[in-house]
Amino acid sequence: MRGIVAYGAYLPYHRINRQEIGQALGQPGGKGTRAVASYDEDTTTMAVEAGRHALASAPGFKPEVLYFATAEPAYLDKTNATGIHAALALPEEVFAVDMIGAVRSGAGALRAGIDAGVPALVAMSDVRIGLPGSTDERDGGDGAAVFLCAESNEVIAELIGTASVSAEFLERWRVPGEPASKVWEERFGEYVYLPLAQKAFENGLNSANVTVEDIDHLVVAGLHGRAARGFIAASGVRKESVVDDGVIVVGNTGTAQAGMMLADVLDRAQPNQLITVVIIADGATVMHLRTTDAITRYKPAVTVAGQLKGGKEINYAAYLTWRNLLHREPPRRPDPDRPAAPPSYRNEVWKYGLEGSRCLSCGTRHLPPARVCVKCNAVDKMELERLADVPATIATFTIDRLAYSPSPPMVAAVLDFDGGGRFLSELTDVDPEKVAIGDRVEMSFRRLYTADGVHNYFWKARPMRRSN
C-alpha cells in the first residue's frame, strides 16, 4: 500500500499574543496567540527541523525524492530543497526540488510525494507575514510539517482516494518581493470557493468509495477562513470529527497548515480511521487517508500538542524587527561578511550536515572536522561523524551585548557533546538570564544572518526541547 510512513511537525518556540498587537496599534487584538518563526528561522530551517523529527521516527527511511513546498522561499533561482537535503545529510542521489510561490504548492507536494513511486520526503513550510494591523498578521502562523511517503507495509496512513479541482480567479495574490499578500473582498472568495470545495469533496468521496459518515477526522485547510468554515458547515461531516485548525494558538501556517493539522491527527489517530484532508487554495484538493495497524507501533519524535505547550511570548516590537518590518539601530560594529561560496562548498558536510571528525587512533572528536588530531597528533586518520542529533552540555557561556546579531544580545556557549567533542556555539530560543553551566542543549538548524543577499545557514544550540 502507498501512503505515509512517518511524519514530523515543527512549531517555532516563539508566540505573539494578539492582545499585544492590538495594544501596540490601538485596535482590537483578538484572542489567542500566533506562532512566530524566530529571527534566525525561515521556511528552509523549519523544514529541516520537521524533517529531523520525521526521520527520527523512521530511522531506516531512505528518501529518493525531496519535495519542498513553501510560499515564502528563502531563495529564488537557487533551489532551497538542496539546503534541506544537505542539513538532513541525505545522499547526493536524492532528487531535491522546490515547489514554491503559492500556498497550494503544499497540496501539490503531498500528492506528488505519495504518488512518487519511490520513497519521498515531502516538506511543507511557511512564514506568514501580514502588514502591521492586518488580518494576515494577526491570524497567520509559522511552522512546518514533513511527511515520509512510500509504497510499504509500514504505511501508517494509506491514501485511498483523491480529487482536485483547479480554478483561475483573483482572491489572494502577491508580487515577488512584496512582504504581504493582497486579497479581494472576502465575500467574493467565499462565493467562488464554496462550490469548488464541495465539488472536490464529492469527487473525493466517490474516488475513495466512502461516505460522509465514514469520516473520522476532517482536516480543512486554507487561508480563506470564511470559505473553510462555510465548507465545513455544508459538508455534513460530524462536528466532533472536524479537526481544530490551530488558528487560536498557532495561526494559519498557509502552505504548512494542512500538514500540521494532519500531523496532529496522526499523533492521536487509531487504526482503521478515515482522515479526509481538504485544502482550499486556487481550487480545492482532497485526500482520503486510512490509518493502518502500523500506527499503533508508531512513535512520533515530538507531538504537535507537545510543542504547543512550550513557547515563549515576545513583544510586538521584536516581532516586527524579526520580520524586517521595523528597522532598528544596529550596534556600532561592522556588518558581518557574507559567507564565501568556495569554503561553504568545501565544508558542506560541516556547515549543513554538522559532521565532525573522529580520530581513528585515539577516538577524539573534532568540530569542525580536522586533519590533525588535537590529542594524539595523528594525521589524516579521521572519519566523519554527524553530531546534529547528539545532545551537549554547557561548559561555560556568555551574553555578548556588543556582537552583531539580528536580535541582540547574542548568547554563546562552550558545548561539550555527549560522547566527546567540543564546539563554541551560539544559543537560540533561550532566555539569556537563565543560562547556566551544566545546562543540557540540543542542536537546531538556523539562519544566522543574511549578508549581501546570502543566507548564512548553520547550527545553533537550544535548551533541550525534544521529548527524547
Binding site: 561578511d337 577524539t364 556568555t398 555578548d400 556582537a403
Partner: protein, 396 residues
C-alpha cells in the same frame, strides 16, 4: 620546550612612547615619527645609526614601507610583524635575536596601531573569506567565558568574582591616574566600575580595556655596547613566545580557567633567566589585562598566585602599586587602551622607566632588579603568548 634564550646578550639603550588616546589629530605616520624620535633622542642617536628595523602592527599598514616611508629610511631592512595582541612584543623579540646573532649592531623595534579611525566600538579586524560557521562573538565575550568557569571551578560566588574583577580595574585605573601618557588619567570608583553597562557576560564596560591610538619604540644593541649609549641600559634576560594548538575550542578537558600558552611562555622565560619564585624576585610585572578576568587568571598562570587563590590575592592588594608584586604599575591596557602593535612595547617602556628610577609618582622602590612584560592574543584556549624579562644589571 627547548629554547636556550639570549640572557644578558642584548640591551635596550633607548625608548620612546607616545601618549595613548584618541589622536584625532595624528596619523599612523605621525605616531611612528613621534615614538621613533623619542627613542633615538633617549639613546643619543640619529636614525642613520640604526641598521635594521622591526615594525609591529596588526592593521595599521602592511610591509616595511609602513615605517620606511614616514621615517624616510634609506634602503635598510624593515620587517613587518603581526602576531595578534603580541604584535609589538614580536617586533621586539625579533629585533633582539637579530642583534644577538651578530647580523646587526643596532636595531629598532617599533609598534603602532591606530584603532580610533574605524568608527566602530571595540576591535575590528578583517577575516579571510569563510564558510560563516565560526561563532562571531566579540573579544570581551570570548574572555568573559573565563568568569563563570572560574567561579564554578573554585566555588567563588559570582558577586565575589565581580568584586575581584572590579578591584583589578580600580587598581589599574588608580595606577594610570599617575601616568601622564595614559589614555585615562584618573581614578575610577569601584561603584562606577561595578555598575558600568554590561558588555559581555558579567563584564561591564570598565572591565574592558579601552580603544586607543599609540606607538612605542625601543633601540637594541649588544650588551657589551650598551654603556656607549646610556648609563642605565636595560638588559634582556628572557624572551619567550608560543602559538597554541587551539585546544580550547576542541577539547573538553580545557576548562576555561587558564591559558596554557601563558603557562608555557612563563615557564620557558623563567627557566631562561633562573627565576624560581616570580612573585618574590620580580620588581614588577606588566601583564595583558585586556579584560579583568584575564588579569585574574594570569596571576595564577604566571606563577604569582596558587591555583584558585588569585582572586584572594587580588582582593588582599598583593598586586597593588605598593603591594608585594606590583602588576601593571603604569595603568595597564585598562588605562592605556590597546593599540595592538604598540602595547607590548608600551609595557616594556614602563619596565624601562621603573628599572631606571624614572617612573615619577609611580616609582616602585622595592629594590628588585627584574621586571617582566606579558601579552596574549586570541581567545582563551586559542591564543599566542609572549613573556619578556628584563633587568637593570647583568648577572642577576
Amino acid at each position: 620546550m627547548a629554547s636556550k634564550g639570549i640572557c644578558d646578550r642584548v640591551a635596550i639603550v633607548g625608548m620612546g612612547c607616545t601618549p595613548f588616546g584618541e589622536h584625532w589629530d595624528k596619523s599612523v605616520d605621525d605616531l611612528l615619527v613621534d615614538a621613533s624620535q623619542e627613542a633615538l633622542a633617549s639613546a643619543g642617536m640619529t636614525i642613520d645609526q640604526i641598521d635594521a628595523f622591526w615594525l609591529g602592527t596588526m592593521g595599521s599598514g602592511v610591509s616595511g614601507l609602513t615605517l620606511s616611508r614616514p621615517l624616510k629610511i634609506d634602503y635598510k631592512p624593515v620587517s613587518r610583524n603581526e602576531n595578534m595582541c603580541a604584535t609589538g612584543s614580536e617586533s621586539f623579540r625579533n629585533a633582539c635575536y637579530a642583534i644577538a646573532s651578530g647580523a646587526y649592531d643596532i636595531a629598532m623595534a617599533i609598534g603602532v596601531e591606530k584603532l580610533k579611525d574605524s568608527g566602530f566600538s571595540g576591535l575590528v579586524s578583517a577575516a579571510p573569506p569563510s564558510d560563516g560557521t565560526a561563532a562571531a562573538i566579540t573579544a570581551p565575550a570570548s574572555f568573559s567565558y573565563l568568569a563563570p568557569a572560574y567561579a564554578n571551578k573554585y566555588g567563588v560566588e559570582m558577586p565575589e568574582l565581580k568584586d575581584t574583577m572590579t578591584r583589578i580595574a580600580w587598581k589599574n585605573h588608580k595606577n594610570g591616574a599617575l601616568n601622564p601618557r595614559a589614555q585615562f588619567k584618573k581614578e575610577v570608583s569601584k561603584e562606577t566600575i561595578a555598575n558600568s553597562p554590561l558588555i559581555a557576560g558579567p563584564l561591564g564596560i570598565f572591565d574592558c580595556s579601552g580603544v586607543s591610538d599609540g606607538s612605542a619604540a625601543a633601540i637594541i644593541v649588544r650588551a657589551e655596547d650598551a654603556y656607549k649609549y646610556t648609563d642605565k641600559p636595560i638588559f634582556v634576560k628572557a624572551l619567550s613566545f608560543v602559538a597554541g594548538p587551539s585546544r580550547g575550542p576542541l577539547d573538553p578537558d580545557y576548562d576555561y580557567t587558564t591559558f596554557d600558552e601563558c603557562v608555557a611562555v612563563a615557564k620557558d622565560a623563567y627557566q631562561q633567566c633562573g627565576i624560581t619564585d616570580p612573585r618574590a624576585q620580580l620588581a614588577m610585572a606588566e601583564v595583558h589585562d585586556c579584560f579583568t578576568p584575564t588579569e585574574l587568571v594570569l596571576m595564577e598562570d604566571l606563577g604569582f598566585s596558587e591555583r584558585g587563590e588569585g582572586w584572594k590575592d587580588v582582593m588582599a592588594g598583593k598586586f597593588d602599586l605598593d603591594g608585594e608584586l606590583p602588576v601593571n604599575p603604569d595603568g595597564g591596557l585598562k588605562s592605556f587602551g590597546h593599540p595592538i602593535g604598540a602595547s607590548g612595547l608600551r609595557m616594556l617602556f614602563e619596565c624601562w622607566l621603573q628599572l631606571r628610577g624614572e617612573a615619577g609618582k609611580r616609582q616602585i622602590t622595592n629594590g628588585k632588579k627584574l621586571a617582566m612584560t606579558h601579552n596574549l592574543g586570541g581567545a582563551p584556549g586559542n591564543c599566542v603568548s609572549f613573556v619578556s624579562v628584563v633587568g637593570s644589571e647583568l648577572d642577576v
